[in-house]
Point group: C2
C-alpha cells in the first residue's frame, strides 16, 4: 500500500440529508427578500438523502427581535421538492430557513406496508420498536408512555394480522416521528426578509410643487398645499410627494428654462439646496415654517394621506456645510470646490458631496441626521434623488440604520440608470424603485417589461413604482400629445402597477410642450419657475383619474403586482392583462393607439382568471358601466380612444350555461 | 437629537465596486465545474460601481498546486457585463475568480475627451497629473520616469491643442492604468474547477462479460478478452468495461433468470462479490490471475484502449469482511446480518455495507484501498454501481482523495434514480453519469432532454454517458425489436452524446427477448449465466457500428457535447440536430420510425451551422457516401429504415452560387 492508502480518513459522515435551491432568496442570502404586512413567504427547497431513505423537512422562521424560531412541517411536492408558507405580520427584519433530516420512522413504515413474509414482519416490528423506543426517550408523559407501550407491543405481538394493524397505527406513528431525533440533519443558512407596511405594496402618488399653489401670483405655501389636499384625495391619491422644501441657493442660481444665469425674481431649482437660511434641515422661508410643515403632515394624515419628502444629497455653493465642513467637498487643483459636471456640461450651482472624504464618518452621520430629523417631524416616506451617484455602502448602512427602529419608513429610489445598478440599489434596501415604464410604449415592450417586473426572481427585492411623467421627464410620446395619450399612459400605470404616480397638475392638465423636440425636459419647466395651473379648466383629466383610482381602491386585485398575467390579442395596438386577489379578478384591455379605434380578438388564459374551459361569464367595465356576456377563451373587444382608452373589467362569477 | 442619531457610524466605505453573477459556478462555489484538458473556461460576471465611475475587471486563475495567480483583463460586453477566458492544460483542481476595481484613469480620460472649456481642460490636466503621479509611485524604471514626465508635462503645458494631445496619449494611459492602485476593489470568491483527461470528454464504451467469451463451453478468461480486443477496437470502441471480476459467493447464489436458488453449475451474478477465494481485491479464479488481468490492461493500452472496472460496494454473505469486520454490517434484531431488500423483494445473496457504522473510518479506509489497489494495477476508469445507495459524503471524500494524486482517474456514476440525486452525485465529483437517454424515445423527449444535458447550467458538472442498453435494462422499445430499431438507438447515442456505450455482444446481435413483457430484464440474462454469442452471424450490426464510430473518431464535432443544436422538422418521426467544433460541422437527421420510410422538410438554423442566409452548400452523408447540394434553410430529407436510420452529414463549405 502506498502513502495514499495510509492517509487517515479526513471526512465526516454527517449530515446525510441535503438541502438545495431554497427559494426565495437573493444572492444566497446576502440580501433580503421584501414583503409587505400580511403577505406570505412561500418557501420551496429541494431536499433529499441518498438511497431510499425518506426525509422530512421543516421551515423555521422568526420575526423582528424574536430569539426563538417558529417551525412548521414542509409539504412534499414530489421529485424531492418541498414547500411551506408563513405570513409576515410585523414590520422589520425576519429570517427563515429550512431543516431536513432522515425520517427513519417513515422509511420503516413505508417498507412495512409492503411486507408479506411473516418472519420478516416480526423482525421488522422489532426494528421499528427500537426506533420508537428512541423517540420515547425524547418524549415526556403521557406520550413517553404511549410510545413505550407501542414499542413493547410491537416486540411481543406474534399474530401477523394483529401485528400488521399495530405497526400501521398512524396516530402513534405521528407521535413517534414528532419525538424522533433528527439524525443526519442538514440546515440551510438563515435567509433574511424585510417586511414593510402595506403602503409599500400599494400606493398612489401625486408629485407637486407647493410654490406653484399660491394665489394671485404669490409664492405657494404649505397652507396652500393643505387647501389642495381634498382635491388631490378626491382624485384618489394617497401619497403627496414634494420636491425639496429647503432654502434655495442664490449664487449661480439657474434661470427659467435652465438658463445659465437667473434673472431677478427667478425662484431657482428646489434641488439647489442650501442658502444663508440653512441647509437640509431648514425650510425655504417662502413655503412656511416648520410648524406649518407639521400642520401639513398632520392634515394629510387626517385624510388618510401621507407627505413624501425628497432626499437630495447635494448642495448649493451657499449651503452651510460648504463653510462648516470644507473636507466634505472635493477641491479642484486651483483650490475651488469641484462642482457637478458631465463634460462638456457644467452644473456650477451644485456641489456634489465627497462620500469618500477622510471625514466620511462625520459626513455620513450628518446625512443620517437629516433623514432622522424629518422622520421625527412625521415624514415616513423619502423619495431619494439620484441614489446611484452615491456609494452603495452608504445606502445599505443608512436605510438599515433608520429602519432598525423605524421599519415604517419607506425609501423610493429615483435611479434611472443601468439595470444592474437599479437592481443593486433595490437589493441594498430601497423599498421601491422608479422603473423604465416611462419609456415602455409598445405592446411587446409592455408585456416583456411587466413580465420581468412581476414574474422574474428580481421581484423578490425590486418593487416597482411606475410614473408616466416626472418634472424631469416629458417622454417623447407625450410631446404635444392629446389627452387620449395621457389617458392611455395613466391607465397602464394604474392597472399594471400597484404603485404608481404622476407629476401634477401637469399631468391631469395634459401639459405636453417639450423644451425642444430632442429634449425630455418640459418647456418652461416648473423646476425653474412658479407655474399657474388652471385646475378648473374643462380639459382636466382629474375626474377620469378619480374614477381609475377609485377602481384601484375598490379592487384588491390591483393592489399588488405578482398576479399579473398577459393574454394574447390579435391586434398589436391592444394589450390585455389580468390581476387577481382571491375572488377579485380584474381584466384590462388597453388600446395603445390614442388616435384610432382598434378592435381585435383576445385569447384569454381562463385558468389565470380562475375560470374553467368554455366558461360563460360576465365582464363589467368599471369605467363605462357597461357589461358584456363572454364565453370561453376567444372574445372580441373594440376600443375607441374618443370614448375610453381601455376596458377595466371586473370578471364575474361563472354562470351556469 | 435622539439616541439613533448619536449612534456611532458602523459602516465601511470600501469596496466601492460590485461583482455579481459570476459564471460558471455550481451552488456558489460549493462544487467544482468540470472541464477536460484543452477546453476553455469562459468566465462572465456583472461588475460595476456607483455613479459614472468606470471600472476595470480582471480574471484570476491558477492550476493544480500553483500558489500564484495568472491574471488577465476582462473584456466589457456592455450593460455592466464582463468576460474573459482561459484554457485548462493540466489535470486536477483549478480555481478562478474575478476582481473589479475603480478605474479612475479611464473615467478621467473619458471625461477629458468631452471637454471644450480651456480652463477646465487645464484644471482637468492637473487632476489627471495627480492620478498619474500615483501610478508612477507604484511603477519601476523606466515606466516610473515615463509617468513622472507625463504628469509634469500635463501640469505645465498651457497650450490647449498641445494639452489635449498630451492628455489623450493612449500608450501612456495604458502604462498608468497598469500601475494604478486598485481602489475600491471587490473580489469574488475563488471558484473551483476540476480538469479531467480527454477521455472524460469523449469515449466509446463496450461492456462485456468476460466469462461468456470462453471456447467450447469453457468459462471465459482474461486471455479470451485479450483475443477479442482487436474485434472490439475494429468496431471503434476504446473503453472496455467489465462487470465485477471478483470471486462470486456460493451461499444463496441466484440461479438462471434470477431464480431464488442456483442449480448445480449455475455461475451466479458477478455482483454477488466475495467468497472463500477473497473479496474486492481478489479475482474470480476462473477468469484468471492478477498477472493475467494486468496483461489484459496492458493489451488494451497497447491498442489505445482502456479497461474500465466495476466498483460495487456490497458483499455476498461469504465475503471475508463479513467475518473480519462484523461491525460493518447491520444486524437484524434476531442477530442475523441484514440482507438487501426492497419489500416484498428480498436479496438474501447480498449484504449492504453499513456506511454509518461506528467503525466507519476503518470501513471507508478499506473501500478506498479497494479503488487504490486496482488503480495501482493500471485501472483508471471505474464504473460505480448504485452510488446513490451510499452516503453522499463518502463519494465526495473518496473521489477527491483518489484524484488528489491521480487526477487521471475517471468515475462513472451508475445511478438511475431521481434527477436531484443524480445531479448531486455529479456535483460531488463523479466524472460522468448515466442518463435517462435509455428511455427517451420520442422526438419531443429527445429534444428536451438533450437540450437540458447540453445547454442547462447543469452541464457544468453533469457529464452524460448515454447507453441504449445495459445488462440490467432491455428498454421496452427494444423488446422483440428488429435490428433497424437497434440502429436508431445507437446512432442517436453515438451522435447526440460524446460519451456513449453499449452492452455487447447483446446489442450488435440485436438481443431483444425480455424476461417478461412488463420487465426490462433480459430473458436468460447474462448476469446469471454464461452466454454463447454468435459473433459471426450474418445479422450482426458490428460492421455498421464500426462505421458510425469511425465517423465519431474522424469528426471533432462529435467529440464534445455543448455545441448541440436542434433544427425543426415538419415530421415528428424525424429529429434533426447538429454539432460543431471549429470548421468541423456534422448535421444528423434520424428517422425514429424503424418500420416505415419517413420524409419531411428540415428548417435549418444556418447560423448554428456557420452558414450565411440563403447559402449554397453541400452535405456529404458519411454513412451512405452520397452527397446533396442544399440551399438555404429549407431542405428535404427522406429516410428508409431498410437502408439507413439516419443521414450523418458533414456540412461542406459554402460554395459560390
Amino acid at each position: 500500500m502506498n502513502d495514499a492508502t495510509r492517509r487517515p480518513v479526513r471526512a465526516s459522515i454527517a449530515p446525510s440529508a441535503v438541502i438545495e435551491d431554497v427559494k426565495p432568496q437573493v444572492d444566497g442570502g446576502r440580501f433580503a427578500v421584501k414583503r409587505a404586512l400580511g403577505e406570505e413567504i412561500v418557501v420551496t427547497a429541494a431536499a433529499f438523502a441518498h438511497g431510499h431513505e425518506k426525509v422530512a423537512c421543516a421551515l423555521r422562521y422568526r420575526g423582528p427581535d424574536e430569539v426563538g424560531w417558529s417551525r412548521i412541517p414542509m409539504e412534499s411536492l414530489g421529485n424531492d421538492r418541498w414547500r411551506a408558507r408563513f405570513t409576515v405580520d410585523r414590520m422589520g427584519a425576519w429570517q427563515y430557513g429550512v431543516t431536513c433530516w432522515i425520517d427513519s420512522l417513515a422509511s420503516w413504515r413505508e417498507g412495512y406496508e409492503r411486507r408479506v413474509d411473516v418472519d420478516d414482519m416480526r423482525i421488522a416490528a422489532k426494528v421499528g420498536a427500537e426506533l420508537i423506543a428512541t423517540s420515547a426517550a425524547h418524549a415526556t408523559a403521557p406520550e413517553r408512555e404511549q410510545l413505550t407501550e407501542w414499542a413493547r407491543a410491537l416486540r411481543e405481538e406474534s399474530d401477523p394480522v394483529a401485528l400488521r394493524t399495530l405497526a400501521l397505527d398512524d396516530t402513534l406513528l405521528e407521535i413517534a416521528r414528532a419525538h424522533a431525533p433528527r439524525t443526519g440533519a442538514a440546515q440551510s443558512v438563515n435567509f433574511p426578509a424585510v417586511v414593510d407596511r402595506e403602503r409599500a405594496r400599494f400606493g398612489t402618488w401625486y408629485e407637486l410643487f407647493p410654490r406653484s399653489l399660491g394665489k394671485d401670483g404669490a409664492h405657494g405655501t404649505f397652507a396652500d398645499v393643505i387647501e389642495r389636499l381634498d382635491a388631490i384625495r378626491a382624485m384618489g391619491f394617497d401619497v403627496v410627494y414634494l420636491p425639496p422644501i429647503h432654502p434655495i441657493g442664490r449664487a449661480k442660481r439657474k434661470g427659467r428654462n435652465n438658463a445659465p444665469a437667473a434673472q431677478s425674481g427667478d425662484v431657482g431649482s428646489p434641488w439647489g439646496i442650501g442658502a444663508r437660511e440653512g441647509g437640509h434641515t431648514a425650510i425655504h422661508p417662502e413655503l412656511g415654517t416648520l410648524a406649518q410643515f407639521r400642520d401639513l403632515v398632520e392634515a394629510a394624515k387626517a385624510r388618510g394621506m401621507e407627505i413624501a419628502m425628497d432626499v437630495a444629497f447635494q448642495v448649493s455653493p451657499e449651503h452651510p456645510w460648504v463653510q462648516e465642513h470644507p473636507a466634505w467637498f472635493r477641491k479642484r487643483p486651483d483650490g475651488t470646490v469641484q462642482f457637478a459636471e458631465n463634460p462638456p456640461k457644467k452644473y456650477e450651482d451644485i456641489y456634489p458631496i465627497d462620500f469618500a472624504t477622510t471625514e466620511w464618518k462625520a459626513l455620513w452621520q450628518a446625512l443620517r441626521e437629516v433623514v432622522e430629523y424629518w422622520r421625527s417631524q412625521g415624514v415616513a416616506i423619502f423619495r431619494v434623488d439620484n441614489p446611484h451617484t452615491k456609494p452603495f455602502a452608504f445606502w445599505e448602512w443608512l436605510i438599515a440604520d433608520i429602519r432598525r427602529e423605524h421599519p415604517e419608513v419607506i425609501f423610493l429610489s429615483e435611479a434611472f440608470t443601468r439595470p444592474r445598478v437599479m437592481h443593486r440599489l433595490a437589493k441594498l434596501g430601497f423599498t421601491q424603485s422608479y422603473t423604465y415604464f416611462t419609456w415602455r410604449t409598445t405592446k411587446a415592450e409592455i408585456e416583456e417589461y411587466f413580465t420581468e417586473l412581476s414574474q422574474d426572481d428580481s421581484r423578490e427585492y425590486f418593487r416597482p413604482n411606475c410614473w408616466p411623467n416626472t418634472p424631469d421627464i416629458l417622454p417623447y410620446h407625450l410631446h404635444n400629445a392629446g389627452l387620449p395619450m395621457f389617458r392611455v399612459r395613466l391607465v397602464l400605470a394604474a392597472t399594471l402597477a400597484a404603485n404608481y404616480g404622476i407629476y401634477g397638475p401637469a399631468y391631469e392638465l395634459g401639459e405636453n410642450r417639450p423644451y425642444s423636440p430632442k429634449s425630455e425636459e418640459y418647456l418652461a419647466s416648473e423646476k425653474y419657475e412658479l407655474k399657474r395651473w388652471d385646475g378648473d379648466g374643462a380639459a382636466s383629466l382629474a375626474p377620469w383619474i378619480a374614477k381609475v383610482n377609485a377602481i384601484r381602491h375598490a379592487h384588491a386585485a390591483l393592489q399588488s403586482d405578482w398576479s399579473l398575467a398577459f393574454h394574447p390579442t390579435d391586434n398589436d395596438q391592444i394589450v390585455c392583462y389580468s390581476k387577481r386577489a382571491g375572488a377579485d379578478c380584474i381584466l384590462v384591455a388597453v388600446n395603445l393607439d390614442p388616435l384610432r379605434a382598434q378592435s381585435g380578438w383576445v385569447t384569454l388564459d381562463l385558468a389565470a382568471l380562475g375560470l374553467e374551459d368554455h366558461a360563460n361569464f360576465r365582464v363589467d367595465d368599471l369605467l363605462s358601466g357597461e357589461s358584456y356576456p363572454w364565453r370561453g377563451e376567444r372574445n372580441f373587444v373594440m376600443l375607441d380612444p374618443a370614448r375610453a382608452p381601455a376596458h377595466v373589467f371586473a370578471v364575474g362569477r361563472q354562470r351556469q350555461p
